[in-house]
């Protein structure tokens, strides 16, 4: 679906207690993490009242009726806990434009609470390890930049 430009979402649940449902109930998502602002907005009925939205601000406009950006951002900013950052720009700034997703992960780590950011850094090292130290460092840098930019918000 995503490679054909359709909307795609997945549910991730982490807990020290048993997890029954693979699907997150409406009103129970602690975080909505989105690489695209309209897509973040699509799933707000799933957000818990105290939940966070972490989203990229750069739209991906592949549909003819993409709503005006000020309306999209206006609707997002009405929610109580939103971190909206230009993930693409930050990734470019740290010299790793293809690591936009790591920037977003870094921003997410800043509010995740239940997982030490160092664990995520370890994960990045493990995943990219076979691609060489340079790629690992670029991704860690993007992760750290995302983490720092969210902290500023």
């Amino acid at each position: 679906m995503s490679q054909r430009g359709g909307d795609v979402q997945s549910n991730l649940r982490l807990s020290s207690d048993p997890i029954y449902s693979d699907l997150i109930p409406r009103g129970a998502a602690d975080l909505i993490v989105s690489l695209e602002p309209l897509e973040a907005l699509r799933y707000i009925p799933y957000l818990a009242p105290e939940g966070w939205i972490i989203t990229n601000t750069v739209p991906f406009e592949n549909i003819p009726d993409y709503p005006p950006m000020d309306q999209v951002m206006g609707a997002l900013n009405k929610l109580p806990r939103v971190i909206a950052i230009d993930v693409d720009a930050i990734a470019k700034e740290v010299g790793s434009p293809r690591s936009a997703n790591m920037v977003l992960l870094g921003a997410t780590a800043s509010v995740l609470g239940i997982l030490d950011p160092d664990k995520l850094r370890d994960g990045i090292r493990r995943i990219f390890g076979r691609k060489g130290e340079e790629i690992v460092e670029a991704n860690i840098k993007a992760f750290d930049a995302g983490f720092a930019s969210a902290r500023k918000k």
Partner: protein, 531 residues
């Protein structure tokens, strides 16, 4: 063995099969089943043990290949999406009559809510229909363990076992801890009851009566299976029957434990004994099942009963679509969690053909010809990426029913007076079930233009090998299409004039024309370029 792994439900089935001593996987790709076979193809045990792992041409050849392996005493696995079960229905029903020799497990992955399918048929019905046991895991660990158990059970009762998964079970990852040793593969050995395998009426009548008896035994087994059990609860105002992953959605709503007695069902035939036990405890039973109301229908008799049954049929639970914890919550009468209202500032983002895809250029050229000069044309298509030609901006196809229906429906319409009658399918669909329809067209000398939009792969499911790659024109000629009317074009914007000329010429030829429109899928091309 006890190392934890993070696996999709599909992968848990695959690993379970590998550890159960699998000798062959037989499958045609289809969402959400594809990853079972892909996992086996990528696993070191597959190479080490020379496990057969090639994609098959369609689900029917898959089922037959696996049945042949079972005949020879080896363990085999067949995988497909729910509608694939229709394609393999003949050998599937036949396999209940022959029974299994080596363990035979048929993994059917259902797609309720139709995320990627044309209907939401429930594969559990095949169990009732064919008198075969069905296993329906509710989590990834169970998927692993049940697959191993299914192979053992298949051999113990000499019957194929259907392993039914639904989208969220198939496509969700969770921690799996493999259990037990890696079992050796079976040695070649032939069936103990050779007569069963020749289903002439003289044998089949005898076998049918045996199977009816066996089916009663399968239900007995289900009643004592460790995968089916009753858990009591303090509140006896209602009981719940929760099948497969519906159990998860029930428990999601009761983090401190379900207050009602629960019958969890993961092995069929449905154990009526256990339902009676539950009914003796409660006046009302809520049936939660993913898919069609199979169990609910069975429990709701025509005649009055002391037990009230509620579920999908009376719409206590949403009547169609996949279940969610929210649907189940509502059915349990629990208040909805507080939520943010859906935003008013939304626009749908449907999937579309990739930019640069050859299907786009084919449809553009086809539209240029038909819309301008042949307004009476009808285009019959079927299932693959190219079905997206229905969407804006192309609106290029009139029908899509099932794989292969394009070539045959075009003929039916042509014989009825439709002109031009155009069929469109892809290369993998052509070999899956278009070839036989092409032979019909040749034998009937139908006035049709049949187009094969060949992207050299099975694209919709992620780029698996396509059975006829490199041989499409030869297959068409072999089936009797006049070679002068097998035309090959390359779908690119610069070729539109040539493409349109070919399409026009073949419309004007009153016989069977095949236009092969060939350019590699841009997704697989990108992957090949990286290598």
């Amino acid at each position: 063995m006890a190392d934890k792994q993070l696996l999709l439900g599909d992968e848990a089935v695959a690993l379970g099969a590998l550890h159960a001593g699998l000798s062959g996987v037989y499958a045609y790709p289809g969402t959400p089943s594809t990853e079972i076979t892909e996992y086996i193809q990528g696993h070191p045990l597959t190479r080490e043990r020379h496990i057969h792992d090639h994609w098959t041409t369609n689900e029917k050849t898959a089922m037959e290949g696996a049945l042949g392996m079972s005949y020879a005493g080896k363990r085999s696995l067949v995988c497909m999406k729910h509608v694939g079960m229709n394609v393999c229905a003949d050998p599937l029903m036949g396999s209940a009559m022959t029974g299994a020799n080596g363990g035979l497990v048929v993994a059917a992955c259902d797609d309720p809510s139709m995320h990627s399918s044309q209907n939401e048929q429930d594969s559990r019905f095949w169990g009732t229909f064919g008198m075969m046991p069905v296993f329906e895991p509710s989590n990834q660990q169970e998927a692993y363990e049940m697959t191993r158990a299914a192979f053992d059970y298949s051999e113990k009762r000499t019957i194929p076992v259907i392993m039914r998964l639904t989208t969220r079970m198939a496509h969700s990852r969770a921690v799996v801890t493999p259990t037990g040793d890696i079992r050796p593969q079976n040695e070649l050995h032939y069936p103990e009851y050779p007569k069963r395998w020749v289903t002439l009426p003289v044998n089949a009548r005898v076998r049918n009566r045996e199977l009816i008896k066996d089916y009663a035994q399968f239900e007995e087994d289900a009643a004592t299976s460790k995968f089916n059990w009753i858990a009591d609860g303090p509140d006896h105002s209602m009981g719940v029957i929760a099948c497969g992953i519906a159990y998860n959605y029930l428990m999601e709503n009761y983090p401190d434990g379900c207050p009602y007695p629960v019958l969890k069902v993961s092995q069929y035939p449905f154990p009526r004994k256990l339902a009676l036990k539950l009914a003796a405890m409660v006046p009302t039973i809520l049936v939660l099942e993913e898919g069609q109301p199979l169990v609910e229908n069975m429990l709701r008799g025509v005649f009055p009963s002391n037990t009230k049954i509620i579920g999908r049929i009376d719409e206590t639970v949403v009547r169609d679509g996949e279940l969610s914890p929210d649907d189940v919550r509502k059915a349990l009468g629990l208040p909805a969690l507080p939520t943010f209202a859906p935003s008013q500032v939304l626009a749908p983002r449907p999937p579309a053909l990739c930019m640069g895809c050859g299907h786009r250029d084919f449809y553009t050229a086809l539209n240029n010809v038909l819309k301008k000069d042949y307004p009476t044309a009808r285009v019959f298509s079927d299932i693959g990426c190219y079905t997206l030609g229905y969407m804006a901006p192309f609106h290029a196809i009139n029908t899509c029913v099932e794989m292969g229906a394009s070539f045959t429906m075009a003929q039916g319409a042509a014989y009825s007076g439709t002109w031009p009658a155009v069929g469109v399918l892809g290369d993998s669909t052509f070999t899956h079930s278009g070839m036989t329809g092409l032979l019909d067209a040749v034998n009937g000398n139908a006035d049709v233009v049949l187009c094969i939009s060949d992207n050299l792969t099975t694209a919709m499911t992620g780029g698996q090998d396509s059975a006829g790659t490199g041989r499409i024109e030869a297959i068409c000629a072999g089936l009797g299409v006049d070679p002068a009317h097998i035309r090959t074009i390359v779908p690119l914007p610069k070729n539109y004039p040539d493409m349109e000329k070919v399409i026009r010429e073949e419309i004007e030829y009153h016989g069977v024309s095949v236009i092969v429109c060939r350019r590699e899928c841009i997704q697989t091309a990108r992957r090949h370029a990286k290598k």
